[in-house]
Point group: C2
Chain length 663, copies 2
C-alpha cells in the first residue's frame, strides 16, 4: 500500500493544479503530448536510469548507445511526430550523440545548405543513414569564431577543398558526438582560395567510413576525456579531431549564402546573410526553455524534500518543524521557484519572437535584428547563469543529503553548467548586450526610435526623473510601480555608463576599461525584460481557479527578490528610497507566506515523473528515508561486507605489520 507523505501539503493548495500544468506546458496540446511521452518513457524498463553513476566510462557510454538506438527504434515503431520524438529524447534524459545530430547538424544543413545540398543530405540525416556532429570550437579557440585556425583551401585543379589543421591549437575540440560516433560533421574552417582569405565557413566532411566506422585517411579523431560529475555529460563523446590535408568535393561547402565557383571565386548569393539570425534565435529560445526545465526540476526536488525534512523546533518530543516553514529556507527557495516560472514565461515569449523574426526575414525586414540579437543573447546569459547557481542552491537547501548522488542534484548540476559557456560565454554575451544598449542610448537624441525590449528608453526623460510612488508595502504589488522602478534603474545605469564612456578619447578603450560596469548594465536590462514579460503574461486571461493569483505572487516574488539582491543599483540611481526598499522587503516576506501553502502544488504542476526527476529526495510520494536507506545497499562497495583491499591494506595497519606489506 502506497502512502502519499505529501498529501497534506497537496490538500493545502489554493489553486487548480491541473490548470497550472497546462500553463506550464504552454498549451493543452503540449501538456498532453508531454504527459503521454513522459509516462511512456518512465514505464519502459529499457529507459531506467538506476546505477548510471556506478558505471565506468566505457559501460556508461555503451549503455547510452543502447538507449539512443532503442529510443530511435521506438520513435519509428510508434511513428512519433517530430514533436513527440523530441519529447521522448528529452524524457530519456541522457545526453547522447543524437542531441547534436538533430539539434545542430540537421539545422546547420537546413539553415546554411543550398536547396540542392538539402536534398542530398537531409534525407540521409533524417533516416540516420549518416550521423552528424557540429564542429566549430577548437582547442585554442572558443568564443572568437573568427579566430578559428582550421583551413579549407580550394584546389582548382581537382575542384576540391583541402581541410587541414595547421597547428595543435587548431584541433577541433568539444563537439558532441564527434568522439566515437559521428560519421559526418559540419566543420567550420577559414576559407582560402586564390591565395586569399574569406572568413569562416561551414563544410560537410565525412569523418568515418560507413562500412567499418574507421576514421577516413588523414583524420585523427577521439574522445576528449572525462568531464564534470559522475554519469552526467560523460555519456557524450565530446571529441577531438585533426585533419591532415583531407580533400572534399567543392559542393560540400555549405553554400546558401556564400558560394565558391568552379574557378575559386567567392560570390554572395541573393540570400541575405542575416538568415543566420533566425537560427540563433531558435537556438537561444531552446536554451531558455531548457533553463526553465532544469531549474524547475531542481526546485521540485528541493521543495518536496523541504516539506519532508524536519529540523529543530519540536515541543517536547513532538514533530520537528518542516524546514520549508523557515523564512531562511523560503527566502532562498521561493525566488528560485518564481524564477523557474518566470523563465518559462520568457521562453514562451521567445517562441513568439522566433516566429516574428522568421516572418520578417522572409519579408526582407531586418530592422528588428540588432535588438532581437541583443535581447536573446542577454536572456540566454541571464537564465543559464541563474539556473546553474539555482541548481546548486537547491542542492544546498537539501542539506547533507543533497550531496548524495541519489538526490539527483549533483548530476543535474554537472549536466547543466556547460550551458553558461556554450553558444556564447555568458559574460561575452552580456558585453554584446551592453554594446547595443550604449548604441541605443547614443541614438536617443537622434530621432531613431528605440524598439522592442528597449522601447522603454524612448521615455528616457521621464525615467531619469521619475520618483517611486511606493508608500506602503502593498504598493509593491502594483505592476506599474515595479515596471517603472526596473525601467528607471536600467535607463539610469545605461545613461551613467554612456557618460563615463564618453570621457574616454577612444571608445573601444573605454569599453574595455568599463566592461565590468557594462556587464551590470546589461544584467539590469535583461532582468527588466524578464519582469516585463512576466507582467505582460498576467495581463492575459488565465483560466483555472486561483491559477492567475499564484502566478501574480510568483511574479512579485521574482521582481522584489531581484530588487533586494541588486539594491545598490536601485538606490545609487535614486530610483527608490531606503524606506521603499525596506517596504519591498516586508512585502516579499508576506508573499512568502502566501506561496508557502501552495509550494508543493506549484512544483507538482511541472508534471515531472519520478523517473525523470531521478531523485530520492524529490519523490512524488515524499517517502524519502526508507528509499535512501534501501538505495545505499546497492552501492558496489556493499557487495561484500569486508571491502576489497581490506586484507592487503587495512589489516596490516591494525596488526602492526605494515613494514613488510606490499603496497
Amino acid at each position: 500500500m502506497e502512502v502519499d507523505h505529501l498529501a497534506d501539503e497537496r490538500s493545502k493548495a489554493q489553486f487548480d493544479v491541473e490548470e497550472m500544468k497546462i500553463v506550464w506546458a504552454g498549451s493543452r496540446h503540449a501538456f498532453q503530448v508531454s504527459d503521454r511521452i513522459a509516462r511512456l518513457v518512465a514505464s519502459d524498463p529499457a529507459f531506467q536510469k538506476d546505477h548510471r553513476a556506478r558505471l565506468g566510462r566505457k559501460e556508461l557510454f555503451k549503455n547510452t548507445l543502447r538507449k539512443a538506438a532503442y529510443a530511435w527504434k521506438r520513435i519509428n515503431e510508434l511513428r512519433l511526430t517530430e514533436e513527440e520524438a523530441s519529447r521522448l529524447r528529452f524524457f530519456v534524459d541522457e545526453p547522447a550523440f543524437t542531441d547534436l545530430h538533430w539539434g545542430m547538424f540537421v539545422p546547420a544543413i537546413k539553415g546554411q545548405g543550398t536547396e540542392e545540398q538539402q536534398q542530398k543530405w537531409l534525407p540521409l540525416a533524417h533516416k540516420m543513414q549518416i550521423i552528424g556532429c557540429y564542429a566549430q570550437t577548437e582547442l585554442g579557440h572558443g568564443s572568437n569564431v573568427q579566430g578559428l585556425e582550421t583551413t579549407a583551401t580550394f584546389d582548382p585543379q581537382t575542384d576540391e577543398f583541402i581541410i587541414h589543421s595547421p597547428t595543435l591549437t587548431s584541433s577541433k575540440w568539444w563537439p558532441g558526438g564527434l568522439g566515437k560516433v559521428a560519421t559526418h560533421g559540419v566543420i567550420y574552417a577559414r576559407l582560402l582560395t586564390n591565395g586569399q582569405e574569406h572568413g569562416v565557413h561551414g563544410f560537410i566532411v565525412q569523418i568515418r567510413s560507413l562500412d567499418d566506422h574507421l576514421p577516413l585517411p588523414g583524420i585523427t579523431v577521439g574522445d576528449i576525456g572525462i568531464k564534470f560529475g559522475s554519469g552526467a555529460y560523460n555519456t557524450m563523446d565530446n571529441g577531438v579531431l585533426r585533419f591532415d590535408q583531407v580533400r572534399i568535393p567543392r559542393n560540400q561547402m555549405l553554400m546558401r549564402v556564400s558560394q565558391v565557383t568552379r574557378e575559386g571565386k567567392v560570390v554572395q548569393s541573393d540570400v541575405p546573410r542575416q538568415l543566420v539570425y533566425g537560427t540563433m534565435v531558435f537556438v537561444r529560445k531552446t536554451i531558455v526553455g531548457d533553463a526553465s526545465n532544469a531549474l524547475s526540476r531542481a526546485v521540485c526536488i528541493a521543495t518536496r524534500y523541504s516539506a519532508v525534512r524536519r529540523q529543530f523546533g519540536s515541543q517536547k518530543g513532538g514533530l520537528e518543524t518542516q524546514v520549508i516553514d523557515y523564512k531562511t529556507q523560503q527566502n532562498r527557495l521561493f525566488p528560485l521557484l518564481a524564477s523557474a516560472y518566470a523563465f518559462r514565461v520568457v521562453g514562451e515569449w521567445m517562441e513568439w519572437l522566433y516566429t516574428d523574426v522568421t516572418q520578417r526575414l522572409k519579408a526582407n525586414d531586418f530592422s528588428t535584428l540588432p535588438e532581437v540579437h541583443a535581447c536573446t543573447a542577454g536572456l540566454k546569459s541571464l537564465t543559464t547563469s541563474a539556473t546553474a547557481d539555482g541548481i546548486e542552491e537547491c542542492r544546498k537547501l537539501c542539506g547533507g543529503h543533497g550531496y548524495l548522488h541519489s538526490s539527483g542534484l549533483p548530476e543535474l548540476f554537472a549536466v547543466y553548467v556547460p550551458a553558461c559557456t556554450y553558444e556564447g560565454d555568458n559574460i561575452v554575451l552580456l558585453l554584446q548586450v551592453a554594446r547595443f544598449l550604449m548604441k541605443t542610448v547614443s541614438q536617443l537624441g537622434s530621432g531613431k526610435k528605440a524598439v522592442g525590449t528597449t522601447a522603454y528608453m524612448g521615455r528616457v526623460e521621464q525615467l531619469m526623473q521619475c520618483r517611486c510612488d511606493v508608500q506602503n508595502a502593498e504598493d509593491w504589488l502594483k505592476p506599474s510601480i515595479v515596471m517603472e522602478a526596473f525601467e528607471a534603474r536600467a535607463t539610469r545605469m545605461s545613461v551613467a555608463c554612456a557618460r563615463n564612456l564618453s570621457k574616454f578619447g577612444n571608445q573601444e578603450e573605454g569599453f574595455l576599461e568599463l566592461s565590468a560596469d557594462l556587464v551590470e548594465v546589461a544584467v539590469a536590462h535583461c532582468q527588466l525584460i524578464v519582469v516585463s514579460k512576466f507582467i505582460e503574461k498576467l495581463q492575459q486571461d488565465i483560466p483555472g481557479k486561483g491559477v492567475k493569483n499564484q502566478l501574480e505572487n510568483l511574479c512579485s516574488v521574482y521582481a522584489l527578490n531581484i530588487l533586494h539582491k541588486h539594491l545598490g543599483d536601485f538606490l545609487s540611481t535614486g530610483c527608490i528610497t531606503p524606506m521603499q526598499a525596506s517596504l519591498a522587503n516586508d512585502q516579499l516576506r508576506s508573499l512568502y507566506s502566501q506561496v508557502r501553502p501552495n509550494a508543493v502544488a506549484l512544483v507538482d504542476a511541472f508534471n515531472y515523473t519520478d523517473h525523470f526527476l531521478s531523485s530520492i529526495l524529490g519523490r512524488y510520494d515524499g517517502n524519502v528515508y526508507p528509499k535512501l536507506y534501501e538505495d545505499a545497499w546497492k552501492d558496489p562497495l556493499n557487495d561484500s561486507i569486508v571491502p576489497d583491499g581490506f586484507h592487503e591494506y587495512v589489516q596490516p595497519i591494525l596488526k602492526q605489520q605494515l613494514r613488510n606489506a606490499k603496497l
Copy 2:
C-alpha cells in the same frame, strides 16, 4: 627541454615571491615543512593521482586504502612529526578514513574522555591498532543534535549501556570511515538511565571484529553510496549504522564532563562543560584554513590559465589578448585571489584565538566564549560559502576547458562543497551569529562591554552618525575609512534589525520572521571581521621587497569588492553616498591594474606542486594545450578506435536494420 610559458608573466612581478611564500605559509618553519613534504609526496609514484576519475567505485576505494596504508608506512618509516604527518596527508590529497580517525575520533577522546579513558584508548588509536570514526548525524537528524534518536540506556543489572536505533531515521548516516573501515566509533546517543533522559552524550562503541573485520552482533553497517562528482569524496566510505540492542561497558561513555555512576546516577564532574568550546574553535580554525587552501588552489589554476588563454583582440593575425587582461576577467578573478589571501590571514588569527581560548579555559575564564563562538561560527560560514562559490567561479573563468575533469576544478568543487554543510550548516551558523549580535545590541546601554570582534559596537553612537569622508578614489585606500564604513554598516544593520525585532510581542517569533534579514546582518559583521583582521595584519612589519604593498592591494580589493557587491547595505544605511560608491568602483578598477602584473607570482606564492594542483590548466609551466591533447587519448573510450557497443547499437541504425536488433 622544458619551456616555461609563463616566464614572461613571472618576470613582471614587483615583489619577492620567496618572501611571500613565507607569509602564505605562516612562518619560515611552516614553509619549509610544507615545501619538503609536498615534494616528497609529489615525487613518489605511489601517490600519483592520474586516472582517479576513470576508476569504478570499488577500484577507487581500494586504491585509497592502498594510499592510506602507504602514507602511514612512510610516516612511520620517516619518523615524521605530527605536523609533518598531517602535511603529508594534506598533500596526498585524497579523502580517506584516516581523516576522521585523526581529525575527529582521536580529538573526541582527548576532549571528552577521562584521564583513564584517554590512557586506555589513545595509545591504541595512535598506533592505529584500532581505527575510529565519529558518528553523530543520523538519517533524519543533522543540524539539531538534540534531536538525535539513537538511545544509550543504562542497565544497572549488568553495568552496561544498551545502544539502540529505535527507528529508521535514527540510523547513523554520513560518518566518514564508518562504511567499510572503522573498527570503533564515538557514537552520540541520548542517555537514558533510571527511566530519565539526560541529553546527548558520546560513547565509544566497537563496530567490527578486530579479527575478521565483520560487524559485531547487533550491528548493521555499510556505505551510503555515491556522492557528488567523479573521484572526489567517493574515496571516502561515508557510512550507515544501525544498532539492535548493542551492549557496551559503562566505562565506554565519554565521561570527562558528565558521569554515570554504578547506580545509574548522572553526576557532573568538576570539569567545566565549556571545554567543548575549545574543540569547536579548533575545528573551525581548521575549516577556515582549509577554505584558504581550496580557494587558493582554484585561483592558482584560473590565474595561470587566464594568462595562457588568449581570445579576441588580435590585430591582423597577431596574438590574441590574454584573457587575464580583460577587466571582466579581472573583476571576477582578482577578488577571489584577494579572498584567498584574506582567509589565510583570518585563519592565522584564529590560531591565535585558539591559543587564547585554551589558556582562558585553563584559567576558568569563560568570559570571551560567547563572542568567540559567534565569531568562529560566522567565519566558518563566510569562508566556506565564499570558497565553494569561488571554486565554481574559477571553473567558469576557465571557459569550456574548465569543464574537463583534467582541469582539476570539477573534482575540487565536488570535494569542497560539503564544507558548507558539515560542522554546522552555514545558514544555521549565521543565525547563531545574529542571535549573539542582537543580544550585544540589546545590552549596549546596560554598561556591559562589547568585547573582541564586537568591540566596535561600543562606539555605537559615533557609528550611527558618522559620515564617510571619501572625496576622491584614493581615499578608499585608507584603512581607517574602510574600517569605519564597514563598522557603520554592520552597526546600523544590527540596530535596525534589533528595532524591527522589538516590534514583535514574542521575541522568538520575531526572530523566525526576520531571519532572512538577520542572516544579512551576520554576514555584514563577519565581512567586517575579515577586513579588520586583514588590516591589522598590515599594521605589522612584513619583510620582503614589495610584499606588504601587494598585500595592501589585495586587502583593498577584498574590501572594495565587498562594498560593491553589498552596495545596498552601505547605501540604505547611509554609510556612504552613491558618489562615494562610484569612487570606490574607480579605485577598484585601478587596483586591478596594479594586481595584474603580479597575478601569476601571487599564485606562485602558494607554492603548490603540479601534483597537488592536479590540473592541466594550472600547470606551473603553462604548457596547457599539448598536455590536454595528450591526456585526451588516455580516456578508456579511446582504448579502441571503434567503441564498444558500435556493432550492436550504432551500426543497425546506420544500416536501417534496427527493427530486428536486440536492444
